[in-house]
Symmetry: C2
Subunit: 362 residues, 2 copies
Amino acid sequence: MRVQMPTKTLAEALGHVERVVPSRSSNPGLSLLRLDLEPERLVLSGSSLDLDIRARVEADVQGEGSAAVPAAVVGQVVRSLPSDTVELAFGDFDLEISSGGFSTRLQLVAAGNAPEVHFTGTFDGGIDARDLASALEHVRYAAAVADYQAVFRGVRLELHDGRTRAVATDGFRLASYHTDVSTGLDADLLLPARSVDEVVRLLGDGTAAMALAAGQVTVDNGPYTVNVKLMEGTFPDYERVIPKAFPVSMEVGADALAQAVTRVAVMADKSANHRVDLFVKDGVATITAEGSYGRAQEALEVRQAGTEDEISLAFNAKYLSDAVAPVRGDLRLRFSGSTTPSVVDDLADPAYLAMVVPLRTG
Amino acid sequence: MRVQMPTKTLAEALGHVERVVPSRSSNPGLSLLRLDLEPERLVLSGSSLDLDIRARVEADVQGEGSAAVPAAVVGQVVRSLPSDTVELAFGDFDLEISSGGFSTRLQLVAAGNAPEVHFTGTFDGGIDARDLASALEHVRYAAAVADYQAVFRGVRLELHDGRTRAVATDGFRLASYHTDVSTGLDADLLLPARSVDEVVRLLGDGTAAMALAAGQVTVDNGPYTVNVKLMEGTFPDYERVIPKAFPVSMEVGADALAQAVTRVAVMADKSANHRVDLFVKDGVATITAEGSYGRAQEALEVRQAGTEDEISLAFNAKYLSDAVAPVRGDLRLRFSGSTTPSVVDDLADPAYLAMVVPLRTG
């Protein structure tokens, strides 16, 4: 059993698999990388239990068979190899990795000790890989971190005829990315936000084929296939909470708004939710913050519209910045009231919508 | 009291002062930045007790006076300002920082609360700032971290007629940078390695003027002046331990050697001093390491010389890599024996010399 291939190809595939496979685990098998030699292909696979990953990369392969090695060690070795090509020679007890004048012998583990990962679903669904990555990337920030209710730590993926939508919320803000694309599937899925990060990193060009099975969705794109274990739980009825009427709205460059909020927020107290105040009147949005060191203020010219002349409200600076961050050009910020959610629209991309609940100031 | 100046100038000066001033301290005055308005100059100063720093930067100044503010907050504000120019307006109780549409008011503290820093020595000495930076940078890595004897945590600076030398050692390795330059001073100084890092960062073009006073050395270069509090203690008689006879030596590219050591060391056990073995014979240096995951080896072609045909010894991989790192082109590695120190020379820069003690392998 012998494999020859470009070092870069192996390093890239290993990089992805290594991020999934835990470097330490109470179950030592879980930190193993499984290697399968197929005709003209080296297959690398591993699992974190939440996520199974497989990379199938072209290689010059002699022989067939399977083996396992600790993923973290192989990754470290391969990233530092001196030559553009690498050779893997499998012995009975060890794997010799050679490149240029360098060689290393790693003790092998029987392949059976590594977690078995199966990618056996039927790929009934498909979507342009870049579209899927874009939808997930736009909303991922709005998922909650560890402290919150489990369902808030997921990203919902709604796959229906003529409609693909990604949504995330932590109860204080929400992000949604809606496209008219069909995947050929009909399901509402809830993916762990951490698995979503990995899926986004793997997605490249071409089609991402999708297969549903009990408790998991399989995504296949380029050399990579992943099983994402789905979360259970009832996602909130979020459409109900998005306001319909907006007495004041403003349009402004997303970058200008984000920078102003960041600057002013330096003076905000962390213990008071990073509160920044926003006052919109006469085409000027004035952002202020006050804390134990002093006070900051910035005025931005905006294109103001609406049925009312002014509005005053307060936000968590981080939540407002996060909502604005995916917008490249100009955005519209619509205010439903001082205590009810505000909505961010990307003027160049109607697929994106974000909602932020103002802070209570009374 | 009012100051106008380019944002970049203020941000750069603040960046240096802020690194010295502790952001929190049991003595709250120590975390203050002192601002003095002089004709056409804003003077920023602060102290960490180990190091006093002063930056005098050109500015459009109206009025004279002094005030203090928390250093960390000002730094954060100034780094994010929107416009190329900034205005500081000093009121009775607060400092208003304005730039573009942004403004902030910081509560002022009476200047007397900030540490008083005096730069009153006579600048009898001087050296090209780049030469001083180069000497300190070449040796700093060999100083010990916190665990060791105090004197090993310093960098020795030997200033004598026709001789300027920087030396650091932790007892297991040593680095020395020797030049024939005269500073006009005659003293052996011991500077804390952390203060050396800051001095290196501040040094720019032109002359670094030097003044000696009881327990400190003052260095003045460009807009910056620092007082470095000196360490006490007897530096080891290091010249005595540098070997004189070398039965084997080899010449090789520094980068090729460093990379090979790093690659092979992946297999070395951290608990065994990152041991890598080196065997030099017939113009080939073979580097090997063995640990719980397996074994690695790399062969490098070298230009070998000396009275003996071969040598075999072991190093801490990190110590060998550190000694090699300051060399840009080719180096000579001279071996005095398997258990006695080896010496690294930079073939393009005779000022640099490093010594590494081999690991005991018996």
